[in-house]
């Protein structure tokens, strides 16, 4: 059915994806749609993404963001995606709430850095400008840019991601019914 819909006349949807402060688990879950990947490549093409290794994104239709915002680079990447994408999606618990990395929010970031770099190894906290500077707290992405959709889960299941993407691509209101939102 989906093959039928993807006639050559249909312009492919351009998608960018990124993992900010996440574990790549959400991207793995995207790959978990298994053989439907073949259908997906008929429907979409990828801009900046770990899949393509393109470093900066251009104008695209959908940006999928895994992970929260933990450092200055995350902010820049996120803003670039927002500026280029028509629709921006928060994928997974980290992007939506900060998730596991936000566990550090009740600690002082300075203490964390000195503990890791000085107290343990006797070294110094690296000050190379190449390294992205840490924010004092990890934030969900909707505290930094406007977000259009949230797909919950840690990670959302491959089925949920597939359902969401195909709804979006075919112009339906994306909707995840209860079984896809159950995690227990």
């Amino acid at each position: 059915m989906l093959h039928a819909a993807a006639t050559p006349a249909r312009k492919k949807v351009r998608i960018a994806t990124t993992s900010l402060s996440g574990c790549f688990g959400c991207h793995m879950s995207l790959l978990d749609i298994d053989e439907r990947l073949l259908e997906l490549v008929d429907l979409v093409e990828f801009d900046r993404s770990p899949i393509t290794d393109i470093k900066h994104c251009g104008p695209c239709d959908v940006a999928i963001v895994e992970g929260g915002v933990c450092n200055a680079e995350n902010v820049h990447v996120l803003r670039e995606l927002r500026a280029n994408a028509k629709v921006l999606v928060a994928l997974g618990a980290c992007a939506i709430n900060g998730g596991l990395p936000a566990q550090r929010n009740h600690l002082d970031v300075g203490d964390c850095l000195t503990r890791v770099y000085c107290d343990r190894t006797g070294g110094e906290v690296p000050d190379d400008p190449e390294l992205p500077l840490l924010l004092d707290k990890v934030h969900p992405i909707n505290e930094v840019v406007r977000v259009d959709y949230f797909v919950p889960g840690c990670p959302p299941s491959g089925d949920a991601i597939w359902k969401y993407l195909t709804d979006l691509i075919f112009g339906r209101m994306p909707r995840l019914e209860h079984p896809m939102l159950r995690f227990d």
Binding site: A72, G110, L113, D127, L133, L135, H139, E143
Partner: protein
Amino acid sequence: MTTTQTGLGTYLERILKRHGRDSGRLVQILRDVQAEFGRVSAEAMAILAERLSLPIGDVESTRDFYSFLTSEPTGTYRILFSDNITDRMLGNQAIFDHMARRLGVSRGVVSADGLASLDYTSCTGMCDQGPAILVNGMAITSMTLRRADQICELVRSRVPVAEWPNEFFRVDHNIRRADMLLGTDFTPGSALRAAVAMGREAYLAEVKRSNIRGRGGAGFTTGVKWEAARNARGDARYVVCNADEGEPGTFKDRVLMQFYPERVFEGMALAAYVVGAKLGLVYLRGEYLYLKAPLEEKLSELRAARLLGDSILGVDGFDFDIEIHMGAGAYICGEETALIESLEGKPGRPRIRPPFPVSFGYRGQPTVVNNVETLCKATEIALHGGAWYEGFGTKQSTGTKILSVSGDVERPGIYEYPFGVRISQVLDDAGAKNPKAVQISGAAGQCLTTREFGRRIAFEDVPTAGAFMVFADHRDMFEVARNFAHFFQHESCGFCTPCRVGTRIQAGIMDKIAAGHGTQYEMNELQHLREVMRTASHCGLGQTAGGAIADTIAKFREDYEKRLARKDFEPAFDLDAALARAREITGRDDADSRMLSDA
């Protein structure tokens, strides 16, 4: 063991003895430890855990749950300002700042000499005589700058709180309109005698006939509840009086406990008579500590008069006594299953229902939980019968209801009306000045505007647990809703994610809008969050936590919109400031270590 530990052990032993070494009384034990030592230290917890045969984690999680219990020392004088919106409207923040300056302390930090600590706390139930504070747990009303100065003097001279002027601790009843309950004399024992004369079955039939519904908020039919508890299988049965009264703006139970305690206790005895309970428990909110001693005294009087104890009124097997348990600063403990958890010495987290308390309540046994006012009403039914009672109020809401009126009115206080009274009448009677809104039933309730003032207080129209906060037309309803948002964030018990995270995000968005960084996006988010919390939260707290915001957005949108930034979106925090700590620790100041918030 070091000598100090031995000393600590001896003190703790005394406290443990007082509570019969009952681990179920852990909250009471920890309260006493806190009162004695100004904190519950790790050492104290270790000793308690050992002597009560509890895992230390249980002791710790109970301690950490309640805001009146602390791991670190508080000041010798712990001063907490009630921070309900009504206290704010009476200027509590200026008085707080004044005291902080005079005592040289900042919020939440103990002064260097350990003498004083100052903080805010949720509504303490003195809305008609605020701004109110608690000093070492004792309520002080009608705060002024002058009174603040006097208190600072007393603190500096280290005068014990027990020796402070009596007038500080005066709590008035402010009864402005008395009806059936507040306006009628009551002879202790009369209701019990009437019920015993009728017999159990007949009295229960009268309660059912009266169609009385609970006054604590949910409005469950009392007769049905009692019958279910009586019929449930169990080894023992309990009657619990819910005097937690934490809903911001509610203070009628305080007045009943202070001025009508015989009614409350007799109502409990009536419930016990019907269901066959031997023990009753009053769960009194920690903020009402000042009532504890007089209530204990009242219980002794009733025992002496043989209205409590064994074979009450000479009825063989009608043995019933009452204990008072104190809360420790947690609004959620008003929810009946959280309350029962707290009575059992645990953190006050709502249980999964069913089973309901009537079949599986306190210590797993059938338990009736009723609001203070409901129990008082039970005495009226014993005295006058269900048919008489049913003649008052409306079809689905029989009898009278006590309202706690506060805010922009000339005569704040307690008003008792038959159910069905119009909002406008209450406003007139209380002398409301240009009201633009009324928040009914507290932060968890609903916000009504002038167009709705013709509506009636009744379960079939505007249900309420009793709060009635009035806002005049110069008030900013956004700030009202923001105050409630912070209340819910603070009071969420943290058990379920929609509420724990939702209330926090909600308060964060309200602060963002208050700071002028909100956009239409945040307005949509608030409504979206409300739906998530309403539909996915485990208990009533989370389910209602977004209500006041949704109401004020629908009815006072201009109070929000005037604050919105004219942009598509603004970040929730200052991005550059968020990098400051890492800049400091790395010593960097390159271009990449800087960021603009609206780039």
